[in-house]
Symmetry: C2
Subunit: 409 residues, 2 copies
């Protein structure tokens, strides 16, 4: 008998028929004697419907109130899934984030989980219940409703798996595993049986969107076994995320091509090149709870330097405002510029560590297609470039082919 | 400076435009220096949308889970109204029933309020906030979400007004006051400037549907000044509900005609006429949390009697089942019969106490129209008859005219 935490995304619970399917799938596992905690997202489209409603009232909806609103999406789904399980004569109980007491900080719309009170879930499981928990939401220590940001339901799943010491956290989604890249862009993309945690982290953070990055970090931190599966296939083992390189196997040099078109770039031109400037620039941005992705600073000349970074596209206007109001007047930089018509494309793979020449190959392939590289950033296991948004799909396709990702492992 | 609790129903907050209107109206009063707590219902149509969704999963949705679901309707509205107030640069804060801690019993879908923790609201008011509270919902002592049943938002408003010792509880709705009867049925119906609490109680319980009965009981118990107003008219004083007969004024004999088509009747034929039978019949019905409205038992003959009562139409099948399974086998009655194609029509007025002949006039007027009376029940200030559903509107019209309700007071 094992304890599984399963998470079903918005598409998997997108209609009452699909919710009934999820109930049947969960019931099958329950009949085998396993204990089950099921985390669900809002029905697909629901969160957007609510945000649209909020924007009819406020162009920039108040974050506290927005969280009160959008958290209702998951609250509806947990009730529906609990009903569907009861309809199959299974004991089930739904919980909101507030009811479980998923304690978070108070960064509305992107809160972080601090602590989970798992006692009530444990006693419900012991009493034979399937416990259904609303993803994506929590409560701060003053009982204000918070949300974890888009994709936060994955984080809820992993955090619950960690708190309950579950045997596996199974993330059900509309794909049947992790692919070498998005099959909608490259039809030859292949499913990976396993992927190493660090690669997965890069793939997720770079926008492959199968899993939310914070959930993968969480899984790594608490050593939660994480599996991605399809909720639309009866069989299939999905992709298991592992935490160690398998030394018995020849690693592929590159595991996949990731991409992200939700970014915007900002450059501070002619910033004085002395200690503390980077902090002066990014401090106020971080204080506003804006996540910064790439950060690039090249060697300086004439005592000044150009400092660039990328943020989520939805934070572009906000970040530009903060820079103009709070930063530019204080640091004596020449100017600020930015653009949101960009995309980031990355090659990812732990094998990169022991292979030279990946970067040059990547740049050559892009050059051959006439794709100009605007920014470059690298880590031990990935190389990312920022290109004009319109070239993104072409870049992904040619890189996928150039690194032989369409051939069997 | 006064403290007002205002309540806006589903039609008044039926769109984001209407929510903005409510915000402007609230803002005007706030600008005059008053303290305001605003209770809102779900946007019109939303509760039904959610119930329909639930019924796609379970024909009889699990009550606990149904409450988890439908309570999201008000949660969305409080957030939207708080946003609309902030858009007008007013400090505002939304609360769910759980957050206020509106403590109820655990009778899901028809819970009763036990206690309200008003401390947090008081300190928010003191800090200059308009406090927006979700109507219709609460939480039991095990932190399960409960709802108060249809129309429960009125009860939330009155209960908050009582807890906060508010100067007035103003119920905004789509009508501009209490009428002698429903103007949709009788165009000549007139608005009453005041109505005595006991009359209002009868009018509400009999289905005039302007206010929920429990809210009126609550208001009477805690002496909350209750006013019904229209949210679609800028001016207008609505109808004030008073608690004492005004001795300086000649009371109208009859204040209004109420009606209710949401009822079903059940008769136990040939029940043994000995002490305890009425309890044996109604005990299990009450245990199932089914509200019984009229109860009628006539004199017995041959040692048996016929015992009749009415319940809400939605509980008809359930009640019949309980009677057949749990009651009939034990009390030795001859048979049971029932029907749900009935309506109740009542004449209401405190003036009735001192005037004879109201009943005979009522029965004569109905007889002249060929309307057969199936059941009769009376109280000090009302006379109710059950008639075939198809005659209901006709009965209301002829009674309204016969008692001169279309003429000015």
């Amino acid at each position: 008998m094992a304890l599984f935490v399963q998470k079903y995304g918005g598409t998997s619970v997108g209609s009452t028929e699909r919710i009934k399917n999820v109930a049947r799938r969960v019931a099958k596992l329950y009949a085998q004697g396993h204990e089950l905690v099921v985390v669900v997202s809002a029905m697909s489209g629901e969160t957007n419907r609510l945000i649209t409603l909020a924007k009819e009232i406020q162009t920039n909806p108040d974050p506290r109130e927005l969280d009160v609103m959008v958290s209702t999406g998951e609250q509806v789904t947990v009730a529906l899934l609990a009903m569907a399980l009861k309809e199959l004569n299974i004991k089930a109980k739904s919980y909101t984030g507030a009811q479980v007491r998923i304690l978070t900080d108070n960064a509305y719309t992107k809160a972080r989980i601090l602590k989970i009170d798992e006692d009530r879930i444990r006693s419900d499981l012991k009493a034979g219940n399937i416990v259904v928990v609303a993803g994506f939401q929590g409560i701060d220590d003053a009982n204000n409703i918070t949300t974890l940001g888009r994709g936060g339901s994955d984080t809820t799943g992993v955090a619950l798996a960690a708190a309950l010491k579950a045997d596996e956290c199974q993330i059900y989604t509309d794909v049947n595993g992790i692919y070498t890249t998005d099959p909608r862009i490259v039809p030859e993309a292949r499913k990976l049986k396993t992927i190493i945690f660090e690669e997965m982290l890069e793939m997720a953070s770079l926008g492959s969107k199968v899993l939310q990055i914070r959930s993968v970090e969480f899984a790594g931190k608490y050593k939660v076994k994480l599996r991605v599966l399809s909720s639309f296939e009866e069989e299939g083992e999905g992709t298991l995320i592992t935490f160690e390189e398998d030394n018995n196997m020849e690693q592929a040099v590159i595991s996949g091509i990731a991409f992200n078109r939700d970014e915007a770039k900002i450059t501070i031109l002619g910033a004085p090149d002395h200690p503390g400037v980077a902090y002066q620039i990014l401090g106020p941005v971080a204080d506003a709870n804006i996540d910064v992705d790439m950060i690039i600073q090249n060697v300086s000349h004439d005592g000044t330097t150009d400092f660039s970074f990328t943020v989520n596209r939805s934070e572009f206007a906000n970040t530009m405002g903060i820079l103009k109001d709070k930063i530019l007047p204080h640091i004596g930089a020449r100017d600020i510029m930015g653009g949101d018509k960009i995309a980031k494309v990355s090659v990812v793979g732990v094998g990169m560590r022991s292979h030279a020449g990946i970067a040059s190959k990547m740049f050559r392939v892009l050059a051959e297609e006439g794709i100009n590289i605007q920014m470059i950033s690298t880590s031990e296991i990935k190389i990312s470039v920022v290109v004009d948004e319109k070239y993104m799909e072409l870049a992904v396709r040619v890189l996928h082919k150039a690194f032989d990702l369409d051939r069997a492992q």
